[in-house]
């Protein structure tokens, strides 16, 4: 079931195409990574989802029907460019923003107090925003984003400005929101966190979706049948004992172990590599090299610029 989908969305800004027939589906209950280099059109796409700007063409669906103005009450958005009124107190500000998201005054207060208690922020209530550190401000912003318990949460670079402790707290909270049933769109350049959090990703480059699908599937598509081994008790060249179709990409030593990464041809089984090695070496470890999202990102963006969309 898809919570949100976009179909053939295009948006043009005076001569420059920000999005060109972009179609994306976001499964309900997933954490969806929206990736892409700077200027690829991610922020434009997110603003279209939030109905801050309207697409030139294309359709948007939310919960199985066309996206309506009132759906903003079911969306929580933490923009990349974010801030708060510096001169306003934390409490007043939170109340104001929560009410703008459709909560009644009473409900807003109740929920805010719960979260302030939970995040140990109770003493900040009467402080002005300018008295808080950047990390503290980010916490307030995060809280305001989720306060109306939206079905869809959109985080644009949520971890910037957080120290490791707070970042991990935030990560846990994002996962907790997902467990409660929320769907999360997560836009970032931090590939490690994508790997850790996302179920699905879409990679936007030059106004187009160039890669789209479940993280596992994508990784499977991009793996290169490369294995890393460590062994000892062998004096000669590794190449001499391997069939010629097998390529040694890299060889090095780590203390008393000989290490190598070896690519096997398509259709070959890793077992063939092991059986070729076993008579000659003492094998210490054997593992498949799965490409990281970082590698995939770089590869796709640099190599596949003009290639058609790869469906995983």
């Amino acid at each position: 079931m898809e919570l949100f989908s976009a179909f053939n969305i295009s948006k043009q800004f005076s001569g420059h195409k920000a999005l060109d027939k972009v179609s994306i589906s976001i499964p309900e209950g997933s954490i969806f990574g929206l990736l892409g280099p700077n200027g690829a059109g991610k922020t434009t796409f997110i603003r279209i989802i939030n109905q801050i700007i309207a697409p030139d063409e294309g359709q948007l669906f939310f919960n199985g029907r066309e996206l309506k103005p009132n759906d903003i009450y079911n969306i929580g958005y933490l923009p990349e460019e974010r801030g708060l009124y510096k001169k306003m107190t934390v409490g007043e500000q939170s109340m104001y923003l929560a009410q703008l998201k459709g909560l009644s005054k009473h409900e807003a207060q109740k929920r805010l107090l719960y979260w302030f208690e939970k995040f140990e922020m109770r003493s900040w209530w009467n402080k002005k925003i300018e008295e808080l550190s950047k990390g503290m401000q980010q916490k307030v912003q995060f809280l305001i984003t989720i306060i109306h318990e939206p079905k869809l949460l959109i985080f644009d670079e949520p971890f910037s400005g957080f120290d490791p402790i707070n970042a991990s707290m935030l990560k846990d909270e994002i996962i907790a929101q997902k467990d409660k049933g929320a769907t999360v769109i997560f836009s970032t350049h931090n590939m490690a966190s994508v790997e850790e959090l996302c179920d699905h990703i879409a990679l936007i480059n030059n106004a187009n979706v160039v890669l789209d699908g479940p993280v596992r599937g994508i990784k499977k598509t991009y793996k290169t049948n490369t294995f890393e081994i460590s062994c000892n008790n062998y004096q000669g060249e590794l190449g001499a004992i391997l069939p010629s179709a097998f390529t040694i990409i890299k060889e090095w030593t780590d203390h008393d172990l000989r290490m190598a990464s070896i690519r096997i041809p398509d259709g070959a089984s890793p077992n063939q590599l092991i059986s070729a090695l076993l008579p000659n070496v003492t094998l210490h470890s054997f593992s498949e090299l799965i490409p990281s999202m970082n590698d995939i990102f770089i590869r796709v963006v640099t190599e596949n610029k003009s290639e058609p969309v790869l469906q995983a």
Binding site: F13, S14, R47, N50, I52, I53, I72, I75, Y77, L78, P79, E81, R82, G83, L84, Y85, K86, K87, M88, Y96, L97, Q99, L100, K101, G102, Q141, I144
Partner: protein, 458 residues
């Protein structure tokens, strides 16, 4: 709708609670009170020697006008027509004419002058005449009492029947020898005051709108908010909220200024406290100008206090069409502010910091400043071409029309001006909303007019 009220509330409360609001609330009335009090003070102390010619057809006031430090009286025996004809050559400051009355007691006098007559001279003449008439009445009363001794003497009754109000009307003798009743001063003051108020209001609170928008942009809260509300709602909420701050301040100023003026004038003059409200005074004046022009022996005049300067002002105020004046003021005040507020909001949306606003501020501030600069011209010739066009062109009409209104403006002109203002309010708001909507999401981009033009067509 609910959200726009939330926005208005926030804009209003955060500003009203600021210290600067409190400071302005206190400083404003002090300044305005000074503007009101100083001329009155000066008027009562003018020390230039002035001569006043007197033609007294009744004969009651011969030698009664004593020369003072700065007024010299001399009596003419000629008839009024030739005196008026010669007036310009005589070098006299004013010509006092006390006409013969059918009833034995004179109740009014006419003061001819080239310009407007200083309040102190007018009130001096009035005081002398009042005293003289009252003395005469009292004398007559006492004679009655002597001949008719049966009735018990009621002092209060006597005093009340003796009480007299004298009307001194000012008539301007113009260059062409035409005469017109002159309340120009008060028209001028009212028009200028209203025009300047609107000017200040638009500038002060328009730029507050602009600063508010810039603040939201630089603090980067804007995107959080417009993911919950439409940019148009945020813009209008801000304009209305700030406007209400302005109205609050304005109201406080009026109340406080009135308070200060009352206190200060009473201390200055030392003639007892003038506790009349404007309303009382207007009621009183309405009674005073009753068609028969009979003296008022009633309680209103008995209660009348002696602060002549202020009374004179109130008297002159009577000649202004207040419903029209107040109606027009409220209208031009609100729509002028709303139109300019939208423009200021658009500028705020287009720039990143206040330093960048200069180039866009110019086309907005020039019409406003121009309408203030041209004020003198509007006052001198309120029905002229320049005044007309300025009071019809929407960017200058709020100020220019308000300056003209006290002098009397044909209704079709007022209607035209209002209609155009409403239209351009709608137009500018639509335009501003487009610029605002695009601008608030642009960070770190130097914007020029060509860029703005593009935004308008998105």
């Amino acid at each position: 709708m609910h959200k726009i009220i939330l926005i208005i509330k926030r804009e209003y409360l955060t500003r009203v609670r600021k210290k600067s609001f409190l400071v302005m609330t206190i400083l404003g009335p002090l300044l305005m009170a000074a503007i009101v009090v100083v001329p009155i003070f000066m008027a009562t102390r003018g020390n230039e020697m002035k001569t006043v010619a007197v033609i007294d057809q009744t004969g009651f006031f011969f030698e009664k006008f004593k020369d003072t430090d700065n007024i010299k009286f001399h009596y003419l025996v000629s008839d009024i027509a030739s005196a008026k004809a010669n007036f310009r050559k005589s070098g006299d400051y004013a010509l006092l004419f006390i006409p013969r009355t059918e009833v034995s007691i004179p109740t009014n006098a006419i003061l001819y002058a080239e310009g407007s007559v200083s309040i102190s001279i007018k009130s001096y003449i009035r005081n002398v005449m009042t005293k003289q008439v009252e003395d005469m009445k009292l004398e007559a009363k006492l004679k009655d009492l002597q001949t008719d001794k049966k009735n018990p003497v009621n002092v209060e009754d006597i005093l009340r029947s003796v009480k007299t109000t004298i009307d001194v009307n000012t008539i301007k003798i113009t260059d062409e020898g035409k005469e017109e009743k002159s309340y120009t001063e008060i028209n001028m003051v009212l028009g200028m005051f209203a025009g300047i108020m609107i000017y200040f209001f638009i500038f002060m609170f328009g730029s507050q709108v602009m600063r508010g928008v810039i603040e939201e942009k630089t603090s980067r809260i804007i995107e959080v908010i417009i993911s919950s509300v439409k940019p148009f709602e945020l813009m209008m909420g801000k304009i209305v909220g700030v406007g209400m701050v302005g109205l609050t301040q304005f109201l406080l100023w009026v109340v406080l200024t009135f308070g200060i003026v009352t206190v200060v004038t009473s201390t200055f003059t030392g003639k007892g406290v003038n506790r009349q409200t404007a309303e009382q005074s207007i009621v009183q004046n309405a009674a005073k100008y009753n068609p028969d022009n009979l003296p008022l022996p009633d309680t209103a005049s008995a209660k009348k206090v002696q602060n002549e300067g202020v009374n004179q002002v109130f008297e002159a105020l009577d000649s202004v069409n207040f419903p029209v004046m107040i109606g027009a003021f409220v209208f031009f005040f609100l729509f002028g502010y709303l139109m300019y507020g939208a423009l200021f909001a658009a500028i705020g949306g287009a720039v990143d910091s206040e330093a960048d606003t200069q180039q866009f501020m110019l086309p907005i501030t020039v019409p406003l400043i121009l309408s203030i600069v041209m004020m003198q011209l509007f006052i001198q010739d309120p029905t002229g071409q320049t005044a007309f066009w300025f009071s019809v062109f929407p960017l200058t009409s709020p100020v220019a029309m308000m300056i003209r209104i006290p002098f009397g403006v044909p209704y079709w002109q007022v209607a035209l001006s209002m209609g155009l203002l409403i239209l351009s309010f709608l137009g500018t708001t639509w335009m501003a909303a487009k610029i605002y909507r695009t601008g608030i999401l642009m960070y770190g981009k130097k914007v020029n007019y060509r860029e703005l033009w593009k935004w308008l067509r998105y």
